[in-house]
Symmetry: C2
Subunit: 215 residues, 2 copies
Protein backbone atom coordinates (compact mmCIF):
# COMPACT_ATOMS: atom_id res chain seq x y z
CA UNK A 1 0.00 0.00 0.00
CA UNK A 2 1.26 3.46 -0.83
CA UNK A 3 2.03 5.39 2.28
CA UNK A 4 -0.50 8.19 2.06
CA UNK A 5 -3.48 5.98 1.39
CA UNK A 6 -5.84 4.36 3.82
CA UNK A 7 -6.03 0.91 2.29
CA UNK A 8 -9.82 0.85 2.30
CA UNK A 9 -12.29 0.73 -0.55
CA UNK A 10 -14.46 3.49 0.89
CA UNK A 11 -15.75 6.83 -0.37
CA UNK A 12 -14.90 8.60 2.83
CA UNK A 13 -11.36 7.24 2.80
CA UNK A 14 -10.97 8.38 -0.82
CA UNK A 15 -12.24 11.83 0.11
CA UNK A 16 -9.71 12.11 2.92
CA UNK A 17 -6.92 10.99 0.62
CA UNK A 18 -7.79 13.86 -1.72
CA UNK A 19 -8.49 16.66 0.77
CA UNK A 20 -7.30 15.37 4.12
CA UNK A 21 -3.91 17.00 4.19
CA UNK A 22 -3.30 20.12 6.11
CA UNK A 23 -4.63 23.33 4.51
CA UNK A 24 -6.42 21.63 1.62
CA UNK A 25 -9.99 22.32 2.74
CA UNK A 26 -9.21 25.93 3.57
CA UNK A 27 -7.74 26.41 0.12
CA UNK A 28 -10.91 24.93 -1.35
CA UNK A 29 -13.03 27.16 0.88
CA UNK A 30 -11.26 30.20 -0.53
CA UNK A 31 -11.54 28.97 -4.10
CA UNK A 32 -15.31 28.62 -3.60
CA UNK A 33 -15.41 32.41 -3.86
CA UNK A 34 -14.00 32.24 -7.37
CA UNK A 35 -10.71 32.09 -9.21
CA UNK A 36 -7.75 33.26 -7.15
CA UNK A 37 -4.13 33.97 -7.76
CA UNK A 38 -1.34 32.46 -5.69
CA UNK A 39 -0.94 35.74 -3.85
CA UNK A 40 -4.66 36.08 -3.21
CA UNK A 41 -4.66 32.64 -1.65
CA UNK A 42 -1.65 33.52 0.45
CA UNK A 43 -3.29 36.71 1.64
CA UNK A 44 -6.41 34.77 2.61
CA UNK A 45 -4.36 32.09 4.38
CA UNK A 46 -1.58 34.13 5.95
CA UNK A 47 -0.26 31.25 8.07
CA UNK A 48 0.39 28.81 5.23
CA UNK A 49 4.01 28.41 4.12
CA UNK A 50 4.38 29.20 0.43
CA UNK A 51 5.95 25.84 -0.34
CA UNK A 52 2.98 24.06 1.21
CA UNK A 53 0.53 26.24 -0.71
CA UNK A 54 2.44 25.43 -3.85
CA UNK A 55 2.41 21.71 -3.12
CA UNK A 56 -1.31 21.66 -2.26
CA UNK A 57 -2.29 23.48 -5.42
CA UNK A 58 -0.35 20.95 -7.42
CA UNK A 59 -2.07 18.10 -5.63
CA UNK A 60 -5.53 19.59 -6.02
CA UNK A 61 -4.83 19.97 -9.70
CA UNK A 62 -3.63 16.37 -10.01
CA UNK A 63 -6.69 15.12 -8.15
CA UNK A 64 -8.94 17.02 -10.54
CA UNK A 65 -10.36 19.43 -7.97
CA UNK A 66 -8.76 22.59 -9.32
CA UNK A 67 -7.22 23.93 -12.48
CA UNK A 68 -4.31 26.24 -13.03
CA UNK A 69 -4.82 28.73 -15.80
CA UNK A 70 -2.68 31.56 -17.17
CA UNK A 71 -4.74 34.65 -17.89
CA UNK A 72 -4.61 36.04 -21.46
CA UNK A 73 -2.13 38.59 -22.44
CA UNK A 74 -2.04 41.95 -20.71
CA UNK A 75 -2.92 40.34 -17.34
CA UNK A 76 0.05 38.08 -17.15
CA UNK A 77 -1.02 36.18 -14.07
CA UNK A 78 -1.88 32.66 -13.05
CA UNK A 79 -5.21 31.87 -11.49
CA UNK A 80 -6.42 28.78 -9.70
CA UNK A 81 -10.02 27.76 -10.02
CA UNK A 82 -12.18 24.89 -8.79
CA UNK A 83 -13.43 22.35 -11.27
CA UNK A 84 -17.04 21.20 -11.10
CA UNK A 85 -15.78 18.21 -9.15
CA UNK A 86 -14.09 20.46 -6.64
CA UNK A 87 -17.09 22.73 -6.37
CA UNK A 88 -19.22 19.70 -5.52
CA UNK A 89 -17.46 19.67 -2.16
CA UNK A 90 -19.40 22.76 -1.09
CA UNK A 91 -22.20 20.89 0.75
CA UNK A 92 -19.66 18.83 2.69
CA UNK A 93 -17.64 21.92 3.62
CA UNK A 94 -20.80 23.70 4.71
CA UNK A 95 -21.72 20.77 6.94
CA UNK A 96 -18.23 20.69 8.44
CA UNK A 97 -18.15 24.45 8.91
CA UNK A 98 -21.52 24.45 10.60
CA UNK A 99 -20.37 21.73 12.98
CA UNK A 100 -17.13 23.53 13.79
CA UNK A 101 -18.81 26.88 14.24
CA UNK A 102 -20.57 25.61 17.34
CA UNK A 103 -17.26 25.86 19.17
CA UNK A 104 -16.56 29.44 18.08
CA UNK A 105 -16.74 31.80 21.01
CA UNK A 106 -14.02 34.42 20.89
CA UNK A 107 -11.10 34.60 18.47
CA UNK A 108 -8.00 33.11 20.05
CA UNK A 109 -4.99 35.38 20.50
CA UNK A 110 -3.40 36.01 17.13
CA UNK A 111 -6.30 34.68 15.11
CA UNK A 112 -7.41 36.70 12.14
CA UNK A 113 -10.81 37.04 10.52
CA UNK A 114 -10.60 36.87 6.75
CA UNK A 115 -13.11 37.83 4.12
CA UNK A 116 -13.28 34.22 2.99
CA UNK A 117 -14.08 32.93 6.47
CA UNK A 118 -16.93 35.43 6.76
CA UNK A 119 -18.16 34.47 3.30
CA UNK A 120 -18.13 30.84 4.44
CA UNK A 121 -20.19 31.77 7.48
CA UNK A 122 -22.94 33.07 5.18
CA UNK A 123 -22.96 29.72 3.43
CA UNK A 124 -23.09 27.77 6.70
CA UNK A 125 -25.90 29.84 8.18
CA UNK A 126 -28.00 29.92 5.01
CA UNK A 127 -31.33 28.11 5.44
CA UNK A 128 -32.46 26.92 2.01
CA UNK A 129 -35.95 26.04 3.25
CA UNK A 130 -36.45 29.65 4.35
CA UNK A 131 -35.37 30.91 0.92
CA UNK A 132 -37.59 28.79 -1.32
CA UNK A 133 -38.66 30.90 -4.27
CA UNK A 134 -36.82 33.99 -3.01
CA UNK A 135 -34.84 36.20 -5.38
CA UNK A 136 -33.02 39.11 -3.78
CA UNK A 137 -29.62 40.81 -3.84
CA UNK A 138 -27.93 42.04 -0.69
CA UNK A 139 -24.82 44.12 -0.21
CA UNK A 140 -23.30 43.84 3.26
CA UNK A 141 -20.77 46.42 4.33
CA UNK A 142 -18.83 45.33 7.38
CA UNK A 143 -16.00 47.71 8.02
CA UNK A 144 -13.07 46.59 5.89
CA UNK A 145 -15.08 44.00 4.00
CA UNK A 146 -18.02 44.21 1.63
CA UNK A 147 -19.97 41.15 0.49
CA UNK A 148 -22.60 40.51 -2.09
CA UNK A 149 -25.19 37.86 -1.35
CA UNK A 150 -27.37 37.03 -4.30
CA UNK A 151 -30.29 34.70 -3.70
CA UNK A 152 -31.75 33.58 -7.02
CA UNK A 153 -34.82 31.42 -6.86
CA UNK A 154 -33.76 30.12 -3.46
CA UNK A 155 -30.11 29.48 -4.35
CA UNK A 156 -27.33 31.45 -2.65
CA UNK A 157 -24.23 32.87 -4.31
CA UNK A 158 -21.67 34.66 -2.15
CA UNK A 159 -19.11 37.11 -3.45
CA UNK A 160 -16.56 39.48 -1.99
CA UNK A 161 -17.02 43.10 -3.03
CA UNK A 162 -20.00 45.35 -3.77
CA UNK A 163 -23.21 44.15 -5.37
CA UNK A 164 -23.89 45.66 -8.78
CA UNK A 165 -27.62 46.13 -8.13
CA UNK A 166 -28.56 45.36 -4.55
CA UNK A 167 -32.14 45.25 -3.40
CA UNK A 168 -30.94 46.03 0.10
CA UNK A 169 -27.66 47.40 1.40
CA UNK A 170 -26.89 46.60 5.04
CA UNK A 171 -24.12 48.72 6.45
CA UNK A 172 -22.52 48.03 9.77
CA UNK A 173 -21.91 51.19 11.76
CA UNK A 174 -20.85 49.88 15.19
CA UNK A 175 -20.39 46.54 16.96
CA UNK A 176 -21.28 43.20 15.32
CA UNK A 177 -24.91 43.71 14.33
CA UNK A 178 -24.91 41.19 11.48
CA UNK A 179 -23.65 38.42 13.71
CA UNK A 180 -26.25 39.41 16.29
CA UNK A 181 -28.99 39.28 13.68
CA UNK A 182 -27.91 35.81 12.53
CA UNK A 183 -27.58 34.38 16.03
CA UNK A 184 -30.83 35.97 17.13
CA UNK A 185 -29.11 38.17 19.70
CA UNK A 186 -30.90 41.19 18.29
CA UNK A 187 -33.95 41.75 16.09
CA UNK A 188 -33.97 43.87 12.92
CA UNK A 189 -35.89 46.59 14.77
CA UNK A 190 -33.29 46.64 17.54
CA UNK A 191 -30.26 47.01 15.31
CA UNK A 192 -31.99 49.75 13.32
CA UNK A 193 -33.03 51.66 16.42
CA UNK A 194 -29.74 51.40 18.30
CA UNK A 195 -27.92 52.76 15.29
CA UNK A 196 -25.58 49.81 14.77
CA UNK A 197 -26.73 49.34 11.17
CA UNK A 198 -27.98 51.54 8.40
CA UNK A 199 -29.89 50.21 5.39
CA UNK A 200 -30.63 51.39 1.88
CA UNK A 201 -33.37 49.80 -0.17
CA UNK A 202 -36.39 47.70 0.62
CA UNK A 203 -36.61 47.61 4.44
CA UNK A 204 -38.76 44.46 4.40
CA UNK A 205 -35.75 42.55 3.07
CA UNK A 206 -34.00 42.92 6.43
CA UNK A 207 -36.63 40.71 8.05
CA UNK A 208 -36.29 38.25 5.22
CA UNK A 209 -32.51 38.26 5.74
CA UNK A 210 -32.77 37.08 9.34
CA UNK A 211 -35.12 34.31 8.27
CA UNK A 212 -32.72 33.05 5.61
CA UNK A 213 -29.51 33.31 7.66
CA UNK A 214 -29.80 31.68 11.09
CA UNK A 215 -27.40 30.02 13.47
Amino acid sequence: MASREYGQFCGLARAMEMIGERWSVLIIRNLLIGAQRFTDLHRGLPAIPTNVLSARLKQLEEAGLATRRALPHPERAVVYELTDFGRDLEPALIALGRWGARTLAEPRPGEVVTAESIAMSFRTTFQPEAAVGVTAGYELRMGDFTFRLQITDGALAVGIGPHPSPDLVIERLTGFPIRELITGGKTPDEVLRDGSVRTEGDPALLGRFVEMFRF
Copy 2:
Protein backbone atom coordinates in the same frame (compact mmCIF):
# COMPACT_ATOMS: atom_id res chain seq x y z
CA MET B 1 0.14 30.71 17.15
CA ALA B 2 0.35 27.11 18.26
CA SER B 3 1.73 24.95 15.52
CA ARG B 4 -1.25 22.76 14.73
CA GLU B 5 -3.76 25.59 14.46
CA TYR B 6 -4.79 27.55 11.41
CA GLY B 7 -4.79 31.03 12.89
CA GLN B 8 -8.26 31.83 11.61
CA PHE B 9 -11.48 32.54 13.47
CA CYS B 10 -13.55 30.21 11.30
CA GLY B 11 -15.81 27.25 11.95
CA LEU B 12 -14.30 25.22 9.16
CA ALA B 13 -10.77 25.86 10.42
CA ARG B 14 -11.84 24.78 13.92
CA ALA B 15 -13.39 21.62 12.51
CA MET B 16 -10.17 20.76 10.70
CA GLU B 17 -8.14 21.40 13.83
CA MET B 18 -10.30 18.83 15.64
CA ILE B 19 -10.66 16.13 12.97
CA GLY B 20 -8.19 17.06 10.25
CA GLU B 21 -5.38 14.79 11.27
CA ARG B 22 -4.79 11.54 9.54
CA TRP B 23 -7.18 8.70 10.49
CA SER B 24 -9.47 10.83 12.68
CA VAL B 25 -12.51 10.81 10.42
CA LEU B 26 -12.23 7.09 9.76
CA ILE B 27 -12.13 6.44 13.50
CA ILE B 28 -15.25 8.59 13.87
CA ARG B 29 -16.89 6.75 10.98
CA ASN B 30 -16.33 3.46 12.79
CA LEU B 31 -17.56 4.84 16.10
CA LEU B 32 -20.80 5.92 14.37
CA ILE B 33 -21.73 2.23 14.45
CA GLY B 34 -21.57 2.24 18.23
CA ALA B 35 -19.14 1.78 21.09
CA GLN B 36 -15.95 0.00 20.09
CA ARG B 37 -12.98 -1.44 21.86
CA PHE B 38 -9.41 -0.58 20.90
CA THR B 39 -9.06 -3.91 19.20
CA ASP B 40 -12.33 -3.52 17.31
CA LEU B 41 -11.11 -0.20 15.98
CA HIS B 42 -7.81 -1.74 15.00
CA ARG B 43 -9.57 -4.58 13.20
CA GLY B 44 -11.73 -2.09 11.31
CA LEU B 45 -8.71 0.06 10.42
CA PRO B 46 -6.02 -2.53 9.80
CA ALA B 47 -3.52 -0.06 8.35
CA ILE B 48 -3.39 2.31 11.32
CA PRO B 49 -0.35 2.01 13.57
CA THR B 50 -1.40 1.29 17.14
CA ASN B 51 0.45 4.27 18.52
CA VAL B 52 -1.40 6.57 16.14
CA LEU B 53 -4.75 5.00 17.03
CA SER B 54 -3.89 5.52 20.66
CA ALA B 55 -2.93 9.15 20.09
CA ARG B 56 -6.07 9.90 18.04
CA LEU B 57 -8.39 8.42 20.63
CA LYS B 58 -6.76 10.58 23.26
CA GLN B 59 -7.19 13.66 21.08
CA LEU B 60 -10.81 12.90 20.25
CA GLU B 61 -11.47 12.51 23.92
CA GLU B 62 -9.75 15.80 24.75
CA ALA B 63 -11.70 17.58 22.03
CA GLY B 64 -14.96 16.26 23.46
CA LEU B 65 -15.88 14.08 20.48
CA ALA B 66 -15.50 10.72 22.17
CA THR B 67 -15.40 9.20 25.61
CA ARG B 68 -13.36 6.37 27.03
CA ARG B 69 -15.26 4.12 29.37
CA ALA B 70 -14.30 0.99 31.28
CA LEU B 71 -17.04 -1.60 31.19
CA PRO B 72 -18.36 -2.84 34.55
CA HIS B 73 -16.89 -5.81 36.24
CA PRO B 74 -16.89 -9.18 34.55
CA GLU B 75 -16.30 -7.52 31.13
CA ARG B 76 -12.99 -5.97 31.98
CA ALA B 77 -12.66 -4.00 28.78
CA VAL B 78 -12.41 -0.41 27.64
CA VAL B 79 -14.78 0.99 25.06
CA TYR B 80 -14.70 4.21 23.09
CA GLU B 81 -17.92 5.93 22.21
CA LEU B 82 -18.92 9.12 20.44
CA THR B 83 -20.40 11.95 22.45
CA ASP B 84 -23.44 13.81 21.12
CA PHE B 85 -21.03 16.42 19.81
CA GLY B 86 -19.08 13.78 17.92
CA ARG B 87 -22.19 12.14 16.59
CA ASP B 88 -23.27 15.51 15.18
CA LEU B 89 -20.52 15.06 12.61
CA GLU B 90 -22.56 12.39 10.85
CA PRO B 91 -24.14 14.69 8.24
CA ALA B 92 -20.75 16.15 7.35
CA LEU B 93 -19.19 12.69 7.04
CA ILE B 94 -22.09 11.54 4.89
CA ALA B 95 -21.60 14.51 2.57
CA LEU B 96 -17.88 13.85 2.34
CA GLY B 97 -18.37 10.14 1.79
CA ARG B 98 -20.92 10.74 -0.92
CA TRP B 99 -18.53 13.09 -2.69
CA GLY B 100 -15.62 10.68 -2.42
CA ALA B 101 -17.68 7.69 -3.52
CA ARG B 102 -18.00 9.20 -6.98
CA THR B 103 -14.38 8.23 -7.62
CA LEU B 104 -14.81 4.63 -6.48
CA ALA B 105 -14.45 2.25 -9.38
CA GLU B 106 -12.51 -0.84 -8.45
CA PRO B 107 -10.66 -1.52 -5.21
CA ARG B 108 -6.98 -0.72 -5.59
CA PRO B 109 -4.50 -3.54 -5.09
CA GLY B 110 -4.29 -4.37 -1.40
CA GLU B 111 -7.39 -2.43 -0.43
CA VAL B 112 -9.81 -4.10 1.93
CA VAL B 113 -13.55 -3.70 2.30
CA THR B 114 -14.58 -3.45 5.93
CA ALA B 115 -17.98 -3.81 7.54
CA GLU B 116 -17.80 -0.20 8.67
CA SER B 117 -17.12 1.11 5.18
CA ILE B 118 -20.13 -0.79 3.85
CA ALA B 119 -22.24 0.51 6.73
CA MET B 120 -21.12 4.01 5.79
CA SER B 121 -22.17 3.42 2.21
CA PHE B 122 -25.73 2.77 3.40
CA ARG B 123 -25.68 6.11 5.15
CA THR B 124 -24.33 7.93 2.11
CA THR B 125 -26.81 6.41 -0.31
CA PHE B 126 -29.83 6.84 1.96
CA GLN B 127 -32.39 9.26 0.49
CA PRO B 128 -34.34 10.77 3.39
CA GLU B 129 -36.96 12.28 1.09
CA ALA B 130 -37.78 8.80 -0.23
CA ALA B 131 -38.17 7.48 3.31
CA VAL B 132 -40.56 10.08 4.74
CA GLY B 133 -42.96 8.32 7.07
CA VAL B 134 -41.45 4.89 6.42
CA THR B 135 -40.86 2.41 9.23
CA ALA B 136 -39.21 -0.85 8.23
CA GLY B 137 -36.45 -3.18 9.37
CA TYR B 138 -34.05 -4.84 6.93
CA GLU B 139 -31.44 -7.50 7.45
CA LEU B 140 -28.82 -7.65 4.72
CA ARG B 141 -26.64 -10.71 4.47
CA MET B 142 -23.62 -10.12 2.28
CA GLY B 143 -21.24 -13.04 2.56
CA ASP B 144 -19.05 -12.44 5.59
CA PHE B 145 -21.04 -9.45 6.78
CA THR B 146 -24.59 -9.00 8.01
CA PHE B 147 -26.15 -5.59 8.52
CA ARG B 148 -29.32 -4.34 10.10
CA LEU B 149 -30.94 -1.26 8.62
CA GLN B 150 -33.79 0.09 10.70
CA ILE B 151 -35.82 2.93 9.23
CA THR B 152 -38.05 4.41 11.89
CA ASP B 153 -40.39 7.15 10.79
CA GLY B 154 -38.02 8.09 7.99
CA ALA B 155 -34.83 8.02 10.08
CA LEU B 156 -32.10 5.48 9.34
CA ALA B 157 -30.08 3.54 11.91
CA VAL B 158 -27.34 1.21 10.66
CA GLY B 159 -25.91 -1.65 12.68
CA ILE B 160 -23.53 -4.53 12.07
CA GLY B 161 -25.01 -7.95 12.76
CA PRO B 162 -28.44 -9.53 12.40
CA HIS B 163 -31.70 -7.66 12.85
CA PRO B 164 -33.78 -8.90 15.77
CA SER B 165 -37.08 -8.63 13.92
CA PRO B 166 -36.58 -7.83 10.23
CA ASP B 167 -39.49 -7.05 7.96
CA LEU B 168 -37.35 -8.19 5.05
CA VAL B 169 -34.16 -10.22 4.88
CA ILE B 170 -32.07 -9.71 1.74
CA GLU B 171 -29.45 -12.37 1.27
CA ARG B 172 -26.71 -12.14 -1.29
CA LEU B 173 -26.10 -15.41 -3.07
CA THR B 174 -23.72 -14.47 -5.89
CA GLY B 175 -22.07 -11.34 -7.28
CA PHE B 176 -22.77 -7.85 -5.93
CA PRO B 177 -26.55 -7.59 -6.24
CA ILE B 178 -27.03 -5.02 -3.46
CA ARG B 179 -24.56 -2.64 -5.05
CA GLU B 180 -26.28 -3.19 -8.38
CA LEU B 181 -29.65 -2.43 -6.83
CA ILE B 182 -28.37 0.79 -5.28
CA THR B 183 -26.59 2.02 -8.40
CA GLY B 184 -29.52 1.06 -10.59
CA GLY B 185 -27.53 -1.54 -12.49
CA LYS B 186 -30.25 -4.09 -11.89
CA THR B 187 -33.89 -3.96 -10.86
CA PRO B 188 -35.39 -5.92 -7.96
CA ASP B 189 -37.06 -8.27 -10.45
CA GLU B 190 -33.76 -8.93 -12.18
CA VAL B 191 -31.78 -9.81 -9.07
CA LEU B 192 -34.57 -12.09 -7.87
CA ARG B 193 -34.88 -13.86 -11.21
CA ASP B 194 -31.15 -14.32 -11.86
CA GLY B 195 -30.75 -15.91 -8.45
CA SER B 196 -28.22 -13.45 -7.07
CA VAL B 197 -30.40 -12.65 -4.07
CA ARG B 198 -32.93 -14.46 -1.96
CA THR B 199 -35.42 -12.68 0.30
CA GLU B 200 -37.52 -13.55 3.30
CA GLY B 201 -40.42 -11.38 4.36
CA ASP B 202 -42.52 -8.75 2.68
CA PRO B 203 -41.42 -8.75 -1.00
CA ALA B 204 -42.79 -5.25 -1.58
CA LEU B 205 -40.10 -3.93 0.76
CA LEU B 206 -37.43 -4.74 -1.83
CA GLY B 207 -38.87 -2.12 -4.16
CA ARG B 208 -39.04 0.31 -1.30
CA PHE B 209 -35.39 -0.46 -0.53
CA VAL B 210 -34.17 0.62 -3.96
CA GLU B 211 -36.17 3.83 -3.64
CA MET B 212 -34.59 4.69 -0.30
CA PHE B 213 -30.99 3.73 -1.16
CA ARG B 214 -29.78 5.27 -4.41
CA PHE B 215 -26.46 6.34 -5.80
